[in-house]
Amino acid sequence: MQERLSEIQNQAKEDLAKAESLEEVEKIKTRYLGRKAGVINEIIKSIPGLPPEQRSSTGKSANILKKEIGKWIEERKSEFNTSSEASLTLPSLDLSLPGEHKPYGHKHPITQTIDEIKGIFRKLGFDIEYGPEVEHEYYNFDALNIPADHPSREDFDTFYLGNKRLLRSQTSTVQIRVMEKKQPPIRMIAPGKVFRPDTVDARHASMFHQIEGLMVDEGVSFSDLKYVLTLFAQSYFGQDIKMRFRPSFFPFTEPSAEIDISCSICKGTGCSVCSHSGWVEVLGAGMVDPNVFETVGYDAEKYTGFAFGLGVERLTMLKYGIDNIRLFFENDLRFLSQF
């Protein structure tokens, strides 16, 4: 049995000398000193089966050898520890393994669009204003020069709550609230939710977001309107877009305009997004109607101004080529995590 032990001693020495990495040393350690199937332990376990006279001396020798091998292993280990970090010849990590990921949250794409647009108008000196979502008919219609018999006041265009209360159908309400409180000059945008009992389909939702803008001062002209909205469109859609201002109609602006940009999908040659016209409508705007100024008590001879409005969902859909507005409110994480 003593020969067997010295054999093990030599073999262990040899194995350790040949070991090329910390991992291999660990394997050697398990092989010789492992609690379950280590070579030394096997011998210790076999002692009770030895002749009585050999038992004590074998036990002693085995324990000594165990300590010795343990010492060699530690020595060898420390050699590797000092050299391994610098040594690229002994790779121990599969660098192609994927990194560990912490969950990453996303702001809703509508928030991101609103934040981006707020950022653009902040640079142009526009303040950010907010107004209530439950409104009085006066702010949603009367003060905006929308006559009592206008179709937009009907049941299928506005949600009513009784007692002249409604869910605002446009953020233009904030214009009036701001002008009631402040005197010109005014430069503001008002983002927020609006509600319409539209039949829900790929392009219409009963709740969506708008951003209203207003600038009032002495001498503000249609030229200023074109300038500001051109800066905005170039900033949001890109420097190389083409723009088209064409006459339109809104009760609270006169003259009124709708603003188209060249279709980013087909570059103006015509596709289904732009109904083959090469243009997509992105903004409604106009010079504030004198009746609106009269309502809020501004002198319409002294002050002029422009207002504009845009649909946040629509711009987001255009930007990313999203074809269904419902995706924004289903909140499927597979959708939200793409932005």
Binding site: P103, Y104, G105, H106, K107, H108, I110, T111, F121, K123, L124, G125, F126, I128, E129, Y130, P132, E133, V134, H136, D149, D155, F156, F159, Y160, L161, G162, N163, L167, K193, P197, T199, S206, M207, S221, F222, S223, D224, K226, Y227, T230, F245, R246, P247, S248, F249, E254, P255, S256, S275, P290, T304, F328, F329, E330, N331, D332, L333, R334, L336
Partner: protein
């Protein structure tokens, strides 16, 4: 409306290709949506804004084209021979409600021959997507499209009493319309009746009984002006929309009423033969008041940012058939009389728009002298943006859900208010007709949706408004709330809230108190307070809610009053000098009764006011084998530091002893053996 490219040329000569025509119209405010080839012609779909009823006919659109290309507008002639018989001897018209019908004209044409229309007329009817019927119906449609004035031809011999009464329908009256629909009439609706019954719903559709048929010989031709609001209401109520109602709703030209009637009479003579009975019955209650408006060129140029001369503006207005009044003209001023078909123009600014749109918006320069100005800070925005960045950074996705909800939101108890939610009177769906009083239920629905698609972990939040009722008919309180749903347990979600507070530099302590909501597991839910004010609630969902939604995990939710966060936010970070001497730490494990809370232990240590205690950090709570029943082991770290030196071990030992002694006296807490 639909127009034919070829047909339009009858009223205005031009050399524009169909594409060029479409572009010109669009740039003048008449958007051409589509161009479709029809045989050797094109059909253009033109979007007419509600303020421009004058463009509901070919002549109106031709007027725009003629103005743009500077050509002449050609109006067809309406002269014809009549019989010696007088219309008044054959029929009569009585208007009982002249507010709903301020003008009604009737002509009679005798001995017409009903037949299919000649080929050219059929082709025109086809070119705008209509179907030819017979010569009389086709002619009335043709003139409607041409002038924008709807007409109706009755079979005169089928009119009982040979007369027309314009009156409100009687309750319970019914009529079968030409399209076959059976109309139940109410006394709010205006009808054209004969001596016995309604024969047409005013401005919307004629009745089947008196329509022109193959055997018709004599015709009564109606041309009228009906109140736009009443036509719209009736049309909506009956769900009956026609080319006629579309135009009356938007207001027809009161001065075109008789012209269109004559035009149709002439065409009937030419195409269907017969004789026109002399004269017309014309009951007219409209005031033919002319509107005059003065335009200042200085105002026009300053409002538009242009520099155009008076002659340019004058030319545009004249071509649009405004009459220039020489007596009102000065160096800066133009005074014009507005034609009857332009009811939308009655102020200077309306004239400015006319000049601007014909001159071309593209000619207005995009220039500005706007002065540079700082944007004002908006605290709400700043705190909102910061909060969203923090939560998103912690791995939560932002959701936006509908403010309109169903009864479900009240099922598991109310968070903010027990008053009944504000009801929408005209919801799209009857089961979703309430304004939400909390956000959290919507987050549960989002979780459910995602779970259905196999997403197991839904860490989400919403920052939006809820609407708390404030009494019958009152405006609600619109409360901005932050609701969070987390999948990592109660303490993890509480940690998210604490992180938000610390990132907003909120120094007030977050206090927790057990609360009892059906929504929450009573063992793991709390009311949260900040600076003594209610901040909101946090809790693990109750078994009942988890079962109701069939959730496979145990989500925790929190809902916070965002205004309380804003109130306490400090957007300015403050700087503290980094300490010069190192800290000394002691990790302790103590055994206490179950009833003692961490807040009490921490509060006890803090109350000692030991200047060298720099921090008390919680590690964990352990219950198990080595700990007596009814007790728990709490592990934490004490951090000691002095500003002027490195603390000696013996000093720290003493402080630690003092702390342990106090804990022992206060709560019977012992160091774990």
């Amino acid at each position: 409306m639909r127009i034919s490219y070829n047909w339009l040329k009858d009223y205005c000569k031009h050399d524009l290709s169909v594409e060029a025509l479409a572009e010109k119209l669009t740039n003048a405010g008449l958007v051409v949506d589509t161009i479709n080839p029809v045989d050797d012609d094109f059909c253009l779909e033109v979007e007419v804004t509600t303020n421009r009823p004058d463009c509901q006919g070919f002549i109106g659109i031709a007027r725009e084209v003629a103005t743009i290309v500077r050509s002449k507008l050609v109006i067809p002639g309406v002269d014809y021979e009549t019989t010696t018989e007088k219309v008044n001897d054959l029929t009569g018209v009585t208007i009982e409600d002249n507010e709903l019908c301020p003008r009604y004209t009737a002509r009679i044409i005798k001995d017409v021959k009903i037949a299919p229309s000649p080929e050219w007329l059929q082709k025109r009817i086809n070119s705008i997507g209509l179907r030819p019927v017979n010569n009389i119906v086709d002619i009335t449609n043709y003139v409607l499209m041409e002038s924008g004035q709807p007409l109706h031809a009755f079979d005169f011999d089928k009119l009982s009493g040979k007369k027309i009464i314009v009156r409100r329908a009687k309750k319970g009256e019914t009529m079968e319309a030409i399209d076959g629909s059976k109309c139940m009439l109410t006394d709010e609706m205006l009808v054209i009746a004969d001596a016995q019954r309604p024969v047409a719903i005013a401005g919307i559709m004629g009745g089947r009984d008196t329509e022109v048929s193959d055997t018709t010989k004599n015709i009564l031709l109606e041309s009228a002006f009906f109140d736009p609001r009443n036509v719209r209401r009736t049309s909506r109520k009956l769900s009956l929309i026609s080319d006629s109602s579309y135009r009356f709703e938007r207001r027809v030209d009161p001065e075109c009423v008789d012209w269109a009637s004559r035009r149709a009479a002439k065409m009937i003579l030419d195409i269907a033969g017969g004789q026109v009975v002399e004269g017309v019955i014309d009951q007219n209650y409209l005031e033919g008041k002319k509107v005059s408006v003065t335009l200042r060129m200085s105002r026009l140029n300053s409002l538009l940012g242009l520099n155009i001369d008076k002659d340019t503006a004058k030319g545009i207005l004249e071509r649009l058939q405004f009459t220039i009044k020489p007596e009102g003209e000065t160096e800066d001023n133009l005074t014009v009389e507005v034609p009857s078909f332009r009811g939308d123009v009655y102020r200077e600014v309306d004239l400015i728009e006319e000049v601007a749109r014909i001159h071309g918006y593209d000619k207005i320069p995009a220039e500005s002298n706007i002065r540079v100005k700082l944007t004002q800070d908006n605290i709400f925005d700043k705190v909102t943006e910061k909060t969203k960045s923090v939560i998103s950074g912690l791995g939560f996705d932002e959701v936006i859900t509908d403010s309109i909800v169903g009864e479900l939101q009240e099922k598991h108890g109310n968070i903010w208010s027990d008053d009944s939610s504000i009801k929408i009177m005209n919801p799209i769906r009857q089961d979703e007709n309430l304004l939400r009083k909390a956000l959290v239920h919507n987050l549960l629905r989002v979780k459910k949706h995602n779970q259905n698609y196999g997403v197991e972990k839904t860490n989400i939040y919403e920052l939006s408004k809820i609407y708390l009722p404030r009494g019958d008919g009152e405006m609600p309180e619109e409360k901005e709330c932050l609701s969070i749903l987390g999948e990592e347990g109660f303490l993890s979600l509480k940690g998210v809230i604490e992180t938000i507070l610390s990132q907003l530099n909120i120094v007030q302590k977050l206090e927790t108190r057990r609360c009892d909501f059906g929504l929450f597991n009573p063992e793991k839910s709390a009311e949260l307070k900040l600076g003594g004010k209610l901040l909101g609630y946090i809790g693990e969902l109750s078994r009942e809610v988890i079962n109701d939604y069939d959730f496979r995990s145990k989500p925790c939710v929190a809902e916070l009053d965002f205004d309380i966060l804003i109130e306490n936010t400090n957007l300015e970070s403050s700087y503290h000098k980094i300490p010069s001497f190192p800290i000394v730490t002691r990790d302790l494990a103590v055994v206490s009764d179950e009833t003692v809370t961490w807040a009490e232990i921490k509060g006890c240590i803090e109350s000692l006011n030991i200047v060298y205690v720099d921090g008390i950090e919680f590690f964990d709570v352990y219950r198990g084998k080595q700990i007596e029943k009814g007790k728990k082991s709490i592990a934490f770290r004490l951090i000691f530091r002095a500003d002027d030196r490195t603390l000696k071990s013996e000093e720290v030992d003493k402080l630690q002893e003092e702390i342990l002694e106090n804990l022992s006296n206060a709560f019977g807490i012992k160091l774990r053996a």
